[in-house]
């Protein structure tokens, strides 16, 4: 249907006469007795032409059809779950309507979207096609949603993203899209690696590494010399997946790279390879600095920090210049110990376990530096035994909390149940005010006894008479992370108590509202999961 096509040039003449005015240009029409006025005659003729054109519209020529989207054989979620997904997405799009300020007693649906997506993914569902645009918009706005949203959305979302530039991100995320297909086909992989955009190539490399680390390494080493420095850095980062001894020669070579960041990343990857030559070299250097001193009554650790940072150390990724306010020698020591495999230490300290080693006294105030470096090594090498030893038992109530390294990071190395128990004891001893990051490191839903510990701590905070918004961070976490089965236990707390003598005015009502929101969110999560189970 072509809107502008006219039967005769007459229409153009009518338009130009109309534009200029019939007083200036006579329209190309006979003016009979019926219309002495040429303007009225022009309108008559235009009306006839208009209706004739509209009534005679013909189809247009079709543009090339898009290639059909690949099939997605996964099942749809049950109807109730589909309706729920629409609600969750709607709440997001209508965000910023009335009542945006206080949260009230109703749950925040948008906060539950990540859980819904993850749970639906575990069931192996695909997203209904009609919600894909909303889902892609949500994932575009929130990067944390992307992996689960795109996995659920499947190949049709990639098909859509190829048509709509606003959803480009779906093409480059993870091993999906062109990169996902190519990762399985060596020839397509080589072509995409040679011709693809940077983001596609990163996705491809990540995808190939997941299937066949050696093939990924071969792709990268083939073009390594021609890549730009900032690209080399991100490609190197993509080798983290499937890292193994076979990568060592390549990484050793990267230690001499022109770019300092590339060198540092190569060194970091090598130090995470326990048998690598670099980790041996770092071990040697670290052992030269740290020894057991048996001269005293009680054996203790003696530290002799390095006196210089030689070129060989720099080549192995040690940064020579310390940040402001930090001594050179302690800076170098920290990097050496961090880069050395933790397995060398028990032999160094007469067969002591990590726990016994951590308990040893350290001479000359080196203890904070040494322990902090061990913490970083434990996190980098995912060593649960060392992480456990360094964390120690949760600090006792009376004692001040002395953070060794980053407890949340150390916790992440421990098994889920152990994490929950440790944080539960911490919360029982110290309350919630310092627990936010620790709670964030725990697996969802919170395993017992953690859930009970948090609920008890919230109850204590309420009885103490403070306002609930001092705990809004923890409350928000609890809404998302508590086991829904705890809802019934929480029910009594939703009643509005009399404000106690030491309570802030009105605090009781606000607490009751906060607990109502907590309970209804938990129930909603339970309903959500039940719907997905069908």
């Amino acid at each position: 249907m072509s809107i502008t096509e006219r039967a005769a040039p007459a229409w153009e003449e009518l338009v130009s006469a109309a534009l200029l005015g019939t007083a200036r240009r006579r329209p190309p029409i006979e003016t009979g007795d019926e219309h002495p006025d040429p303007a009225a005659a022009l309108l008559d003729a235009a009306a006839v032409a208009t209706v004739r054109r509209r009534a005679g519209l013909r189809p247009a020529r079709s543009a090339p059809h898009p290639a059909p989207a690949p099939d997605d054989p996964r099942p749809l979620p049950p109807p109730a779950a589909r309706a729920r997904l629409r609600d969750l997405l709607n709440d997001r799009t209508h965000q910023g309507g009335s009542g945006g300020g206080r949260r009230g007693a109703a749950p925040s649906l948008a906060e539950l979207l990540p859980q819904w997506l993850a749970a639906a993914g575990r069931h192996g569902y695909r997203a209904p096609a009609a919600v894909l645009p909303d889902l892609l918009d949500a994932a575009r706005a929130r990067t944390d949603l992307r992996p689960d949203a795109l996995a659920l959305a499947g190949p049709r979302a990639v098909w859509l993203a190829e048509l709509n530039p606003e959803w480009r991100f779906a093409l480059r995320a993870g091993n999906r899209g062109a990169a996902g297909d190519a990762a399985a086909d060596p020839q397509a992989a080589r072509r995409l690696w040679a011709e693809g955009l940077f983001a596609e190539r990163v996705a491809l490399l990540t995808g190939v590494r997941e299937r066949d680390p050696a093939a990924g390494l071969a792709l990268l080493s083939g073009t390594w010399a021609q890549e730009r420095a900032e690209d080399r850095l991100l490609f190197l980062d993509a080798l983290r997946g499937g890292l193994g001894p076979d990568d060592e020669p390549f990484l050793e070579q990267a230690l001499t790279d022109r770019s300092r960041n590339v060198r540092a990343t190569a060194a970091e990857l090598l130090s995470a390879l326990p048998g690598s030559a670099l980790s041996h070299r770092m071990a040697e250097r670290a052992l030269a600095c740290v020894a057991l001193d048996r001269t005293g009554v009680v054996p203790r650790i003696a530290v002799e920090a390095p006196h210089a940072c030689d070129p060989a150390m720099e080549r192995d990724g040690v940064t020579a210049g310390p940040p402001p306010g930090r001594g050179e020698r302690s800076w170098w020591l920290g990097q050496l110990v961090e880069g050395a495999p933790l397995g060398i230490w028990p032999a160094r300290f007469g067969g002591r376990t990590p726990e016994q080693i951590v308990a040893l006294e350290v001479a000359d105030d080196w203890q904070p530096d040494l322990h902090a470096a061990w913490c970083r090594a434990a996190v980098r090498q995912r060593d649960a035994e060392w992480a456990r030893a360094l964390l120690g038992p949760p600090p006792v109530p009376a004692g001040a909390v002395v953070a060794v390294g980053d407890p949340a990071k150390l916790l992440s190395v421990l098994p889920e149940n152990e994490r929950a128990v440790w944080v539960a004891e911490f919360v029982a001893g110290h309350g919630l005010s310092e627990a936010f990051q620790l709670l964030g490191a725990c697996a969802v839903p919170w395993a017992e006894p953690l859930g009970r510990a948090v609920v008890d701590a919230l109850d204590i905070a309420r009885e103490a008479g403070s306002y609930p918004w001092s705990f809004s961070g923890v409350m928000g976490l609890a809404e998302r992370c508590l086991d829904p089965a705890l809802a019934d236990r929480l029910d009594p707390l939703t009643a509005t108590p009399e404000d106690g003598s030491n309570a802030s005015p009105g605090a009781g009502a606000y607490w009751s509202e906060a607990f109502q929101r907590l309970v209804s969110t938990l129930r909603l999560r339970a309903a959500m999961l039940a719907e997905l189970a069908g």
Binding site: M1, I3, T4, W11, V15, A18, L19, L20, G21, A23, A39, A40, L43, A46, A47, T50, V51, R53, R54, A55, L57, R58, P59, A60, R61, S62, A63, H65, P66, A67, P68, A69, P75, L76, A83, N90, D91, H94, G97, S98, G99, A105, A106, P107, P128, A129, A130, L132, P133, R156, W159, L160, L163, N164, T494, Q516, S520, R523, L524, A527
Partner: protein, 465 residues
């Protein structure tokens, strides 16, 4: 109070779908607020009861804890539907009414609080409502408008004279503009607003709306002089039609009257002949103009194959009165407004609740366009003609979207005014490059997609666009 059946509503009334409930929301904010309240937490004392047997429908009620001390009392009569809530909101229905309806629709009314008998406050409201409905019906039966039929006729004549005077003025204005040239009118957009206002005074809203649109066309891009001349010409045609009403054939005269803005009251239409059919709800679209919401519901008779358009209006935060679930069909009586092209209709008696519908039969794009051409013979001012397209593939393109026949190379462009709508991408998502069924309206500027049907698992689902 009247005795109610104490059986649960499972047995007496079809439960509404969530979409049906949300269609009642007067605006996006209420939609969201209602959804947020649709959790058991804040609710207590909820319950449902079947129809009262004296004209009142089934009721759903509950107490909702708000920020204040006293919970709000919310009750809904499903027959109207009618709403009652003790909250101060001016929205209608308010979020509490939507919340309790959503809970009910999802079978999530808090367990253990169902009551067979409505509490006193619900019963009182129901009784008052039934009485009011009866009174209104009695007033209507008892002679209608004040002053009797004679006065009514005089009023009609007076209005006809005013409208004709308006048409004369409008025609003079159009001719004047043509004499001076359309280009000189470019600075004169406010002029057309003034003309529109005088057409409102002349009780010719149809002329007023078209005059107002004329002001917006100049410099609106593309080939605006052509579009402007077309709209001048069509308005001229309408004004001429108005002045020649007596000499036009009956159906065309009715069409002209409808286009001028003369309407017939639904109740009067329904007193005449009606068409009973199973009406498939093809689409429901709301457009907001200032404080006024206009709702268009498109229907197609399963047995008669006829199309119908229900128009309803909502002012100032109120949702339009009629809401029907898209994709379902409804056994009901319709009465068409008079005109050469019966399309607009009034909804009369419903025989039962909406039941699951089906994917309608459609036509290829060529037939859709010739159908529109045919329809123009009866109503040359028609710019949205309902049509179901079958086997078409949506094609997103930088220059504009098309719906193309799955076979052959014919395509229908999407109306350029609809290009920004998110519904287009929903259509593309449902299609995935495969042929689909699409309902929409075709006009001289292209096609407006409104609903599609996705195969999914089992029965096809209607997807609003």
């Amino acid at each position: 109070m009247v005795a109610r059946s104490v059986v649960g509503m499972e047995d007496t009334e079809q439960r509404w779908s969530v979409e049906q409930v949300l269609a009642l929301a007067p605006d996006a904010a209420s939609h969201k607020a209602g959804t947020r309240l649709a959790v058991p937490g804040p609710w207590s004392g909820t319950g449902t009861a079947g129809p009262s047997g004296d004209g009142g429908g089934a009721v759903v009620w509950g107490l909702c804890a708000g920020s204040g001390g006293k919970p709000y009392r919310t009750a809904v009569d499903l027959a109207g539907p009618a709403f009652n809530c003790s909250c101060p909101s001016r929205k209608f229905p308010c979020k509490h009414a939507l919340g309790v309806l959503l809970l009910w629709a999802r079978r999530e009314l808090p367990a253990g609080t169902h009551e067979a008998e409505p509490p006193e406050w619900v019963a009182q409201w129901c009784a008052k409502r039934t009485a009011a409905v009866r009174e209104k019906a009695a007033r209507r039966d008892g002679g209608g408008a004040a002053g009797g039929p004679q006065a009514a006729r005089r009023r009609t004549e007076r209005r006809a004279q005013r409208v004709a005077a308006g048409a004369v003025e409008l025609e003079a204005r159009l001719v004047d503009q043509l004499r001076g040239g359309l280009a000189t009118g470019r600075e004169d957009q406010h002029g057309w607003h003034g003309v529109a206002a005088r057409m409102v005074d002349a009780q010719a809203p149809g002329l007023a709306a078209r005059a107002r649109e004329l002001g917006a066309i100049p410099m609106s891009g593309g080939d605006w002089p052509s579009r402007l001349l077309e709209e001048y010409a069509m308005l001229h045609l309408l004004a001429r039609g108005c002045l020649a009403l007596d000499s036009l054939p009956g159906p065309l005269a009715d069409t002209v009257r409808a286009r001028l803005g003369f309407t017939t009251v639904g109740a009067e239409l329904l007193a005449g002949p009606t068409l009973r059919d199973s009406w498939l709800v093809l689409a429901q679209q709301d457009s907001v103009d200032g404080a006024m919401t206009t709702r268009r519901i498109w229907l197609r008779g399963v047995r008669s194959g006829r199309s119908a358009l229900l128009l309803s209006f909502g002012a100032a935060g109120r949702a339009p009165e009629v809401a029907l679930p898209v994709g379902r069909s409804l056994e009901a009586e319709l009465a068409y407004h008079p005109g050469g092209l019966p399309l607009r209709a009034a909804l009369g008696t419903r025989h039962g609740p909406p039941v699951p519908g089906h994917t309608p039969q459609g036509v290829p794009v060529g037939e859709a366009l010739s159908g529109y051409g045919e329809a123009l013979r009866a109503d040359p001012w028609l710019d949205e003609w309902p049509v179901v397209l079958s086997g078409v593939v949506p094609i997103p393109d930088q220059s504009g979207w098309q719906l193309a026949d799955g076979q052959g190379d014919s395509a229908l462009p999407v109306d350029p005014r609809r290009l920004g709508r998110p519904g287009l991408w929903r259509l593309a998502a449902v299609s995935g490059g495969h042929p689909v069924t699409v309902f929409g309206t075709v006009g001289h500027r292209g096609f407006t997609p409104l609903t599609t049907w996705s195969a999914g698992d089992g029965a096809a689902q209607a997807v609003a666009l």
